[in-house]
Symmetry: C2
Subunit: 200 residues, 2 copies
C-alpha cells in the first residue's frame, strides 16, 4: 500500500513538473522570446522562421526619393514586412511597440508574365533581407537597423548598421509610430488611430 502511495505521489510530482514547465514556456513566449537574438559579440542572428511571424504589409517599388521617382522605369521589388508575434499582439492592445520588437523586411523580385498571369506583378526570387530592432539597453537611439545581405548570400549574423546610415534619420523623422512606418501598414494604422499613438 505504501509503495502504491509513493508511486502515486511520484506520478503526481512528474505530472506537476510537466505542467509547470509548459506554463513557464508559455510565459517566456508572451514576454518576447520570439524577438531578436544576439551573439556575445553583439551580432543579431538572422531568424530562420520569420515567415511564420506576423505579416503586416507588402509594397511594390516603393520610393521615398523624388529623383528616383522621376527616373526611367525599372523592374520594381516587392517589400514584405513581418514582425515578431508577441510584439504584434502587444501593439494590437496598446498601439505601441514593446522593447525587443523586431521587424524583418523581405525584399523580393517581381515578375509580370508567367503561368497564366498576363498583367500586374507577382513575387519571385529573394533579393535581400533587412531588419530593425527596438532595444534601448543595447542601442542609444533605441532602434537599430541591420542588413543580412543579398539573396542566396545571406549572412547568419550581422552587427547593426552605423548610425550615419540614412535609415536612422529617415525612420526617426518620418515614421508614424515610434520609428516604424505604420502609415503603410493598414491594419496597424487603424489600431494606432484608435489608441491615439500616431505621431503624424
Amino acid at each position: 500500500m505504501k509503495t502504491i502511495h509513493l508511486m502515486a505521489a511520484a506520478a503526481c510530482v512528474l505530472v506537476l513538473a510537466v505542467w509547470t514547465q509548459s506554463g513557464v514556456h508559455a510565459q517566456q513566449t508572451a514576454a518576447g522570446a520570439d524577438g531578436p537574438r544576439f551573439t556575445a559579440a553583439n551580432e543579431l542572428m538572422r531568424p530562420t522562421d520569420f515567415r511564420e511571424w506576423i505579416f503586416v504589409t507588402s509594397g511594390l517599388g516603393m520610393t521615398y526619393n523624388e529623383d528616383v521617382a522621376g527616373a526611367p522605369a525599372r523592374v520594381p521589388n516587392f517589400t514584405n514586412v513581418y514582425v515578431n508575434p508577441s510584439s504584434y499582439r502587444s501593439f494590437m492592445k496598446t498601439g505601441q511597440w514593446p522593447e525587443k520588437t523586431m521587424f524583418i523586411l523581405e525584399i523580393r523580385a517581381s515578375q509580370s508574365e508567367g503561368s497564366i498571369n498576363k498583367g500586374g506583378n507577382f513575387q519571385a526570387g529573394l533579393s535581400a533581407i533587412e531588419a530593425s530592432v527596438k532595444d534601448s539597453a543595447r542601442y542609444p537611439g533605441k532602434w537599430a537597423y541591420f542588413n543580412f545581405g543579398r539573396g542566396t548570400e545571406l549572412k547568419d549574423r550581422v552587427v547593426a548598421l552605423p548610425t550615419t546610415q540614412n535609415c536612422y534619420a529617415c525612420h526617426s523623422a518620418n515614421a508614424a509610430v515610434d520609428n516604424t512606418f505604420v502609415q503603410f501598414y493598414p491594419t496597424l494604422l487603424e489600431v494606432a488611430r484608435e489608441k491615439g499613438t500616431l505621431r503624424h
Copy 2:
C-alpha cells in the same frame, strides 16, 4: 491522514485533468483545428484571426485575362494570401495540402503618393475577403471557394460559391499543386520543387 491522502489524490486528478486537456488541445491544433469552421447549415465562418496565419505571398494587379491586360490602366489592388498554420507546416514537410486546409485572399486597395512615398504602391483600405477550403468529405470537387463580400460589409459566414463559377475550373486547370497557385508563392514553390509535387 486519510483526508490528506484523499486531498492529494484529488489534486493529482485535477492536475492530470488539466494536463490531459492541454494535450488534447495541442493534438487538435496539430490536426487542423486552426482551419475552417462551419455552421450546421454548411456555412464557412469568416476567421477573425487570419492576419495571424501564415502569409504566403502578395501580388499587385494580377490579371489572368488577356482582354483585361490590354485594357486601359486602372488602380490595381494588392492580393495578400494567407494559409492556416498547421497546413503550412504540413506543406513544408510534404509539398502537399492536408484535408482542412484553408486559404484567405485579402484584397486591398493600393495607393502611390502618401506620406513620404513618391512612387510605387503601398497598401490601403480593405476591398474584399475571399477564401478556399479543401474538404473532400464536404465538397465533391475536394476544394470549394467562398466570397465574404466587400470591405466594410463583410459577411460573418457564407456557403460555398456555385461550382459553375470560374474559380473552380480555373484553379483545377491551372494550379501548380492541388488546386493552389503555388507557382505564385515563392517559398512554397521551392518546397514543391524539392518534394516533386508540382503539376506544371
